[in-house]
Symmetry: D2
Subunit: 291 residues, 4 copies
């Protein structure tokens, strides 16, 4: 089997030679590429790529790759407008640290924990934050620290300060809003931005509150769920994954909720896995998913 790999994600203005030069950087250090996928967005005139190669046999030590690539990029003129470039290097055996935020519902929480235990997610889950106490038993059962931080308009600043402190203390890489059902302030998002939310509708349909109730009233024949990065505009962030399920006149709101739960946990889990495997590149309000 393949051992640990290095993964390079790049988003930059398009120009000739990018594939050749980036691949040459890896090859010149004896790297063995096992996955490479490039996308050119002709509308935005951007080049987006994901390249993955084996660490074993690579001539550069892990801690020297980023600097070497930086130097190489300058020499080769890869990024003439550095301010428009984002690139990111990661390793397939790095274990991310997740904080799961929940409200009263437990289906997405349990599903993520089960998948993490089953080895589907390359991550630890040291922390659960909730505005209710309801899911504490689950946390205890799986020996995950659980912090209840009530949400109250009058004490929002304090609550968010407390939340941010926990993210730091636990050294969290990614927050997952697993049916957290609360809005985060621009201030908060300015300080921590790696956040994935699951919205219980096929966005942009039924953005906002009570999507299943509104889907029922509208009489749709299909319902959906959407996993997206959180931005300051509610339910407007870049979409990572969506899926749908068929419903009929026999389904009342309760049935929509039940069917939706299965969608929500599947869609959220897929999005989290794609993110953890460095398969998602955000640009503007869009994502490239190198699936």
């Amino acid at each position: 089997m393949v051992g640990p790999t290095a993964i390079l994600l790049v988003c930059c203005p398009d120009q000739r030679g990018l594939v050749a030069k980036i691949a040459h950087f890896i090859y010149s250090h004896n790297g063995n590429i096992i996955h490479a996928d490039h996308h050119t967005d002709g509308v935005a005139d951007l080049f987006l790529t994901r390249i993955e190669w084996e660490v074993a046999g690579f001539a550069l030590g892990r801690s020297h790759i980023a600097e070497a690539f930086e130097t190489y990029a300058q020499e080769q003129g890869l990024f003439p407008r550095p301010e428009e470039v984002r690139w990111h290097l990661d390793f397939s055996d790095r274990v991310s640290r997740l904080a799961i935020w929940v409200s009263r519902q437990d289906h997405c929480l349990l599903d993520l924990i089960w998948r993490q235990r089953a080895g589907e997610l390359r991550a630890d889950i040291p922390l659960i934050i909730s505005n209710h106490d309801q899911n504490r038993a689950i946390a205890e059962q799986f020996k995950i620290d659980f912090h209840t931080i009530p949400v109250n308009p009058d004490h929002r600043v304090e609550a968010e300060a407390q939340q941010l402190k926990l993210l730091q203390t636990y050294n969290i890489d990614l927050v997952i809003l697993a049916k957290y059902m609360q809005i985060l302030s621009p201030d908060f998002l300015g300080q921590f931005s790696q956040i994935i939310n699951i919205h219980h509708s096929f966005l942009p349909a039924f953005a906002g509150a009570n999507p299943y109730q509104r889907a029922y009233v509208r009489g749709v024949k299909i319902i959906g769920a959407t996993a997206h990065y959180v931005t300051q505009n509610l339910d407007q962030g870049p979409i990572i994954e969506q899926d749908v399920v068929r419903v009929s006149h026999r389904d009342d709101v309760t049935d929509l909720v039940r069917k939706g739960k299965d969608l929500e946990r599947m869609v959220l889990a897929r999005a989290v896995r794609l993110h953890l495997h460095n398969r998602v590149l955000v640009y503007g309000n869009r994502t490239v998913v190198f699936a």
Copy 2:
């Protein structure tokens, strides 16, 4: 095989005994039920049913069934509040008369014609109306009358009068807006209301103009199409059928349009077929589809 059948659709306030009494009406005249499906909407407190039985062997002649049922319903007290009741009797060998309205695109038009020729739709298509001349050749090829009625805000009243006249002349039962892309006035809809439209998005997402462009900008991972009855509120009518297809960052707007075309013709064709087979009951802004 089964010969011609009678189909009874009923939507009325719920009460005990409706299934028994309606089925008894059919049985008491020696009818052989081959399909019966009932739905109770607990929220609206309505009973909705579709019953289909063989004409052969039925003791009542076709032209006497409706009157006999009316009388029976009164005797049995089926419908204590007649103003809240709608029922409809049809026969499976009645051939509906369709007018297809198109603009420049031809994919839904051709698809419907092909299905009608292939025997999938129990209907004749004597009339095509368009605001452009573009699809006249198709009409001629299939020997369907084609009328061009330009749409112009200044002459809308005249245009709609002309359209209504044609629907009368051709004795049209159902209008299909097969990518007609124009809005009909409340006046028009007051005079002719059996109209099915195909909208090129997963409603209520991207109601209105340019749904594919807007879906591209929003970065959705799935696009859809929606067939619905036309009401005075644009893209808000009762939904008959929806379906979706997955897209990715590799798809530009042109690809969304191309993939969407396949959705549009499938979804529209299914909705038209369901309507023609008397499988759709509208109540409020919802439909029951007895599929």
Copy 3:
């Protein structure tokens, strides 16, 4: 909300008047039907129905309904060939008793337990049987009795005797093979036949062992899962539910297994729920699913 209901499932040779007469039986005792769905299989000349009505207000006590219906059916000549008739009466508040059989994999087991705890399945789960000890901790965590019965060709008779004894002791209504991966003998099936299995392929494709490996070798673009009743012919029993997921050349066998797990637990859970809600009628090797 609707209170407890009675559900009558009937499968019998078709004849005129069945809908009317069965509905009349309910109405004549003041029953309020909330769901009724009938199907006529023209090929097999069978009538299949599911009728559900409120217990509240019904003139017959629960324990007298079956006998009264039997008498009524005789008087009315509903079932002239009784040997070809199967009917079944159940109540929506009866709680079924499930035994889940597993091997080493835990995803279907955990999923069913979670759904039962979440109120999605109208059932108790007092018993887990396994041929391995692996999942004992899960059973203990949820306080479910766990019995390990090793499977060994030389001691199959004893093992099955032990299994049957447990089913009796725990008064089990339904066995769920949640990735049990072992074959049951005709003898066993002769003594206990209410068994649902999940097969990890889109049957009849890849019946038998190692379906994901074989799907990979065949290069399919879609994989599936199938929930079916167990019969003496391996993977040939009546299908209750199937679903599929798209795969690509990027997916190796490990990926198929991972994606398949999500399918397996969804499809199995849907099938179990349909069965518990008396929505499945088996006839021949087919099912009617009154969804």
Copy 4:
């Protein structure tokens, strides 16, 4: 918009440096890559790639690219074991020539013609071959040559000789068996091998004759269609595309056939388009689809 492009497909034993070297070949001649997708099959130890770059600005004339790449590959040692290498160069503005073979059904034929007319398929369709005369009118309507070649076990050799002659005469690149329903001999396939077939089931389920009838008897809840390259083993060739649709007990064989037709034409059209856009690489009995 992007002008004409060159597309290079390569399948070869994996080694370090392939991405870098192939991309360098293009860059060194001033090529602007607009699409590049690589796949490493770890099981077969193969590297498979599709690279597409703009013809405009490329330093080599179209007719010199292949030879230059051959020379470059030798110099760089890209392909140490040439007998295990297949590569293919094509241009996005080359128009393929298709022969559609049909039997009595017309839905796939009409669909392909419609898509070709609508600009979805980069191809001409100069020739239709059938074993029946039934679809001649369609051919005439669209001004496509139509040849009836009856299939008769006693004259198979002559018939296939006649068919091969037509493929040569019309300079055909790709044969599409659009519900041709006849088997081609190994001899024929030895002489012409670019053939796509649509099979009306979810292969490998229901390979062979009468799949819908058999699907009905088996009581499946989902039916499918499969587009694959034709090989000497009936219905066993490399799969390009598959899709499915849900069915229920309400669907008899006629309904399966009707629903299946929609699947067949969609799946076949997608496969043909993928092939024409050089997005399919066959290796062993598998395909990589660079979608």
